[in-house]
């Protein structure tokens, strides 16, 4: 199905081969914030850094204007991290299984609780409609209402509505999961 040629290639063609000159400057200014966006989605520092690296590589070949870099990188990190959630969740459950198998230490109970909470948050996030999840993560990552609106093609007025809806859904999911455990 060659449709993918006409679909994938146009998105990738810009600036192919050459890495943009301002990459290092943008990287040094924004890397911690981009990692933090991915971390909110994934709940894991290592996976968040992997996602940020992936996003900066794409950015390095893009012609996104420098002034829009942070917004673009944040949106890309949120989307990429949400894409990774599924495989990431599998990894987390493996880690969890390993963890349970270890000999008990005073901290194990706390650690398990944290892991379990994190797992519930990620699962709930993965169930949200994509736009709600992205708007939620971007807003909690410090993008202004206007920036979130631009990133998602929304009117600034509707960003609050979408974020509110996402938070309400997340709270319900968390309560539900908590009570069913």
């Amino acid at each position: 199905m060659d449709v993918s040629v006409s679909v994938v290639v146009p998105v990738r063609t810009e600036g192919r081969g050459a890495v943009r000159a301002d990459l290092e400057e943008v990287f040094r200014n924004t890397y911690p914030r981009v990692v933090a966006v991915a971390a909110r989605v994934l709940g894991s520092r290592d996976q968040a850094e992997d996602v940020a690296q992936e996003v900066f590589l794409t950015f390095g070949r893009s012609s996104v204007p420098g002034g829009e870099a942070l917004r673009w990188l944040s949106v890309a990190a949120a989307h990429t991290a949400l894409n990774h959630l599924r495989s990431g969740r599998r990894r987390t459950s493996r880690e969890e299984a390993t963890h349970h198998g270890e000999a008990a230490s005073p901290d194990v109970a706390d650690a398990v609780v944290t892991l379990d909470e994190r797992r519930r948050v990620r699962a709930a996030l993965a169930r949200l409609p994509r736009r709600q999840a992205v708007a939620l993560v971007l807003r909690h990552s410090g993008l202004s209402y206007a920036e979130v609106a631009t990133a998602l093609d929304l009117s600034p007025g509707s960003v609050g509505t979408i974020v509110r809806r996402a938070e309400s859904a997340l709270r319900k999911e968390l309560n539900q999961d908590a009570s069913s455990d």
Partner: protein, 363 residues
């Protein structure tokens, strides 16, 4: 006055300057709104805490890692963009395109003993073949079985508008009658030129392929070694609603379906030989064996771990609906009068179907 919306209350929580004075005053004196505001504050705080994770990545280490990856990537990219054969291979590596390749080869060999170039394969239907991720990675590329020479390169470029896309490709441009929620703005149009390649089957390479998979190739049937196939696909066009987002919200694409011409040997002979080679995942082989030998069904390899498929119809034409198991994206693909059309995007299966069914065609 009316109560401000939940969205306005939410904005009061963390960006009050963005809320109109009248709304702020109303909320300050309205018990209903104050209660709504308190609930919004609680949910926002809960969510903030749930999502929070301390990260303090080391920027120097991160930069060194990125520099290494960028350096590793560059030579490969350069090769890919300057060597036609590599470019085709890269295109064929796409799981979706691999379809056209392997199948074109399999089904394509079908036309019996024609001596001149004879059209032996034309896509009229699409049938999904579910393949686990691991097997997908194992699907062979065409040049594992012979020599692939690109005669017309895959070329993609953006054009000014729908009219230009139609003029360049000769394909009618679909017009979307109603955009789904979340898809806004004007699309950009891209065209793909006709691409073609000539493939010469090599028995020696097939033996190598089998050996690399740890097996032994049976002796090739007479006439297969050195037989030639010509693959033609395109032109095509795509309307992409992406704005400057990294992931397009929606794509509507059309492409003249793949066609294969052969100077070759009987289809069953070639097919059975290829299927007998070790290395082709067993479940793929057995599903392919079931495809029609009339050379009209294009199998679509689907990563079974990530996508599910179902059937639908678009104005009476059978279509395949693909849905990612994460619910993140959906696509519908169908073939009508020799043209493959697809609608895909970050939306639900119902939404892509409704877009597909609502397409209007400019003439």
């Amino acid at each position: 006055m009316r109560h401000p919306t939940d969205g306005t209350l939410r904005r009061l929580v963390d960006e009050p300057a963005g809320v109109a004075d009248a709304d702020r005053e109303h909320v300050a004196n309205c018990p209903v709104c104050l209660s709504g505001l308190a609930a919004a504050q609680r949910d926002a705080a809960l969510t903030g805490a749930a999502l929070h994770l301390d990260t303090a990545p080391d920027v120097d280490t991160g930069w060194r890692r990125l520099s290494r990856s960028a350096a590793d990537e560059r030579p490969r990219k350069t090769v890919a963009s300057t060597t036609p054969a590599h470019r085709w291979r890269a295109a064929l590596r796409s799981p979706v395109l691999a379809v056209a390749a392997v199948v074109a080869l399999l089904v394509g060999a079908s036309a019996a003993a024609a001596t001149d170039w004879l059209q032996i394969f034309h896509t009229e239907r699409i049938a999904p073949v579910a393949v686990p991720d691991v097997d997908l990675a194992k699907l062979p590329e065409l040049d594992a079985f012979g020599e692939l020479k690109v005669t017309e390169e895959v070329s993609v470029r953006q054009v000014a508008d729908a009219a230009e896309a139609q003029r360049v490709t000769g394909l009618a441009v679909p017009q979307v009658s109603g955009l789904p929620r979340g898809v806004t703005g004007e699309p950009t149009y891209h065209v793909v030129g006709k691409a073609s390649a000539e493939f010469t089957f090599s028995a020696a390479k097939a033996v190598q392929f089998a050996a690399s998979a740890g097996g032994k190739a049976p002796p090739p049937p007479a006439g297969l070694d050195g037989s030639k196939f010509r693959l033609v696909v395109g032109p095509g066009l795509a309307a992409v609603w992406a704005q400057d987002r990294p992931v397009p919200a929606m794509v509507v694409g059309r492409v003249t379906a793949p066609t294969v011409f052969s100077s070759g040997i009987p289809f069953p002979t070639a097919r059975d030989y290829l299927l007998s080679l070790p290395g082709l995942p067993g479940n793929v082989a057995s599903q392919l064996r079931n495809f029609s030998s009339d050379g009209t069904t294009l199998p679509l390899f689907i990563p079974a771990d990530e996508m599910t498929t179902s059937s639908a119809d678009i104005s009476g034409v059978p279509a395949t609906v693909l849905t990612s198991k994460t619910g993140v994206m959906a696509a519908v693909v169908w073939v009508d009068k020799g043209v493959v059309t697809a609608v895909a995007g970050s939306m639900s299966a119902d939404e892509v179907l409704s877009v597909a069914r609502g397409l209007r065609w400019s003439r």
